[in-house]
């Protein structure tokens, strides 16, 4: 095992898969030799693999994904980067109407092994167009897989699975997580889709959390421990497919669930998880389902405003205490 950051783990996954399979190539805005990606994930890869396979594109999100789709259905494995997740809105047709549906619509004649990497998340004061968490849009689109890694281990393993797999994957990175460190194996490994990971075992309450919120949930669990509350933290790792079994299993054990996500509350990821619990585990609940999510506002700029809307340890602890 070795210690690494999520940023480096993602780069390792890209490098190893590009070495393993000549059909893998990268495209996106400023991912090449001058910037190496706005968040540095692809730094050094253009020098290593050349400008053809690490391809800087015009500022054309729709065509970045469209070109990815065209390449994916004709034998290649493109990994497209959208510089900020918010900008995926510019490519919604290509992501949701083309990439996601192309296999179904054409009666399984073709595979579209396209990976779309993009960072979501607030907390760095870059306001409404660079801070959103829009996972629910893509979770709501049949035909896409959605990955939401929270650790270097999961990030590298899930990205490798995405590149090797034959389905289009919307791969969410969280911009605050890039420097976060963790242990990963020296040798090749992958992480399966649709298999949640219990990041902390507990008995009194289940805290379901994704991406950066996993880390806040773990910090909250540590605080709760001091107050005699044993919290279990469940990280789904992928939202599509969703490991419903793991959620139900944890709720059966604890009888309580607090769902923590960084997207806004209405019709968000937390709403879907609450529905799963209500449909499949209601009888095991000893208290109402609680959700901790962002209020239904755009992400504001000014630090006190922004910090107010992002769920934190205190809001998670407060929600837990309301039901234990």
């Amino acid at each position: 095992m070795k210690e690494t950051t999520i940023r480096d783990a993602l780069r390792e996954a890209l490098r190893e898969e590009m070495n393993r399979d000549k059909t893998v190539f990268l495209l996106g805005e400023d991912i090449g030799r001058y910037w190496g990606g706005a968040f540095g994930v692809t730094k050094g890869l253009a020098e290593e693999f050349g400008d053809e396979r690490v391809r800087d594109t015009p500022i054309s999100e729709s065509a970045i994904i469209g070109v990815g789709v065209g390449a994916a259905i004709t034998g290649l494995r493109p990994v497209a980067e959208i510089m900020f997740g918010d900008l995926s809105a510019l490519a919604m047709d290509q992501i949701c109407n083309q990439a996601a549906k192309i296999r179904y619509m054409f009666g399984e004649q073709v595979k579209a092994p396209l990976v779309i990497r993009t960072p979501f998340g607030a907390g760095v004061n870059i306001a409404s167009h660079h801070s959103q968490s829009l996972e629910a849009w893509f979770m709501h689109t049949p035909g896409l897989y959605v990955a939401v890694p929270s650790t270097p281990y999961d990030a590298k393993g899930l990205l490798k699975t995405a590149i090797r797999g034959d389905n289009p994957v919307f791969f969410v990175e969280h911009k605050l997580l890039y420097p976060v460190k963790g242990m990963i194996p020296e040798e090749d490994y992958t992480v399966p889709y649709g298999v949640a990971d219990v990041k902390r075992e507990g008995t009194d309450v289940t805290i379901f959390a994704t991406l950066y919120m996993v880390h806040r949930a773990l910090a909250a669990a540590e605080k709760l421990k001091k107050d005699g509350v044993s919290a279990e933290v469940v990280d789904p790792r992928t939202l599509s497919p969703l490991d419903k079994q793991a959620i139900v299993k944890s709720v059966k054990k604890t009888g309580r669930i607090v769902i923590v996500t960084e997207d806004c509350k209405t019709a968000g990821v937390s709403a879907e998880i609450a529905a799963v619990v209500a449909e499949e585990a209601l009888d095991y609940l000893d208290a109402p389902i609680k959700r901790v999510a962002e209020p239904d506002t755009p992400i504001p700029f000014s630090p006190p405003l922004e910090q107010f809307v992002i769920p934190n340890e205190n809001s998670i602890v407060k929600a837990v205490k309301e039901i234990v």
């Binding site: 053809e52 729709s62 065209g70 009666g107 393993g157 699975t161």
Partner: protein, 327 residues
């Protein structure tokens, strides 16, 4: 480069097949046998056939909601196209796509997208794939003049241009985007003018003259195959029917329709072939009977085919992967 008789007759035969096929679809629609809607290619046959006559079986095309003609021109099986239009299990897409989403990947037909302009970047992506794989295939990308107002046109053509991708952009300018006449939404007359903005060659041709389309496409395909990058070909044409279903197309002046009917690409090509001495009236009659028979056969196959089982709606959303992690 003079075309051989065999090639000319083959092109004529394809045009007849498309025409008869579309007329049959219209007839079946009138009998309530076609679910949903239809967008017929009647009147535009010279474009698809003139372009595809330059393509190899391993070349690609992308298509639109008005795509039956593109499929047939690229060599698709008429029975499987008709079965798809009727929603049958034996259709190209097992009844999941319908008239607006026909694909035949075995023939390089990368599928029809019903989002106007969405196929343009996808075609560029197929072009990039060709370039990265190092083959000498070519992509022909069909779209209407209305699609050239979409951002995807600008983004896709620009990318193909800057990367010199082997794509031939074929604009079927039939003057109307649904019911909106071109001059209401564009300050230019020729879509080909837009190529200047991307630094690629372009040409405007009479899209109802198959030999003009063929020649323009031959040059563009050749350029693409030799690594010379993309070309924009604008084919001025006209749809003889309405936009969809029973659209009476009342927004079109009567004299305009009459003028274009006089320019119907099939009688024009026939006259030309007779003039060139490669077709006789008797041979024409034979070809027509054969085309009609082929279409009848396709209809029979489609009509006799079963509908898919309802539960099949749940299949094919994802590629089944035993364990993606163990691949």
């Amino acid at each position: 480069m003079p075309l051989e008789k065999e090639k000319l007759i083959e092109m004529y035969r394809r045009m007849l097949e498309i025409r008869y096929f579309e007329e049959k679809v219209f007839e079946l629609y009138g009998q309530n046998l076609v679910p949903g809607t239809i967008h017929l290619y009647v009147g535009e046959e010279a474009v698809a056939v003139g372009v595809c006559a330059n393509l190899r079986p391993d070349d690609y095309i992308t298509s639109t909601h008005r795509g039956h003609g593109h499929c047939i021109a690229k060599g698709a099986d008429l029975g499987k196209v008709m079965a798809e239009i009727l929603g049958k299990k034996t259709g190209y897409c097992k009844g999941k796509g319908g008239s607006m989403h026909i694909a035949d990947f075995s023939k390089g037909m990368l599928g029809a997208t019903a989002v106007v302009g969405a196929g343009i970047p996808i075609a560029a992506g197929a072009g990039l794939s060709i370039k990265l794989r190092g083959t000498d295939q070519v992509v022909a990308c069909f779209f209407g003049e209305g699609a050239s107002n979409q951002g995807t046109f600008h983004e896709g053509v620009n990318m193909a241009a800057v990367w010199r991708l082997p794509v031939v952009f074929v604009c079927e300018n039939n003057l109307y985007a649904m019911g909106t006449r071109q001059n209401l939404v564009m300050a230019i007359e020729n879509i080909a003018d837009r190529a200047v903005a991307y630094g690629i060659p372009s040409i405007t041709v009479d899209g109802n003259d198959i030999l003009a389309v063929y020649e323009a496409a031959a040059e563009a395909v050749n350029r693409a195959r030799q690594g010379g990058g993309p070309t924009l070909i604008e084919c001025k044409t006209y749809r003889q029917k309405g936009h969809s279903r029973f659209d009476p197309a009342a927004y079109r002046p009567k004299n305009e329709v009459e003028e274009w009917l006089k320019k119907d690409p099939i009688p024009r090509f026939k006259a030309k072939l007779i003039d060139m001495g490669v077709l006789t009236a008797e041979e024409d009659e034979n070809l027509r009977q054969k085309a009609a028979a082929t279409v009848e056969e396709a209809v029979k196959f489609a009509m006799e085919s079963p509908f898919p089982k309802s539960e099949e709606a749940l299949e094919d959303v994802y590629v089944e992967e035993e364990s993606a992690s163990n691949r």
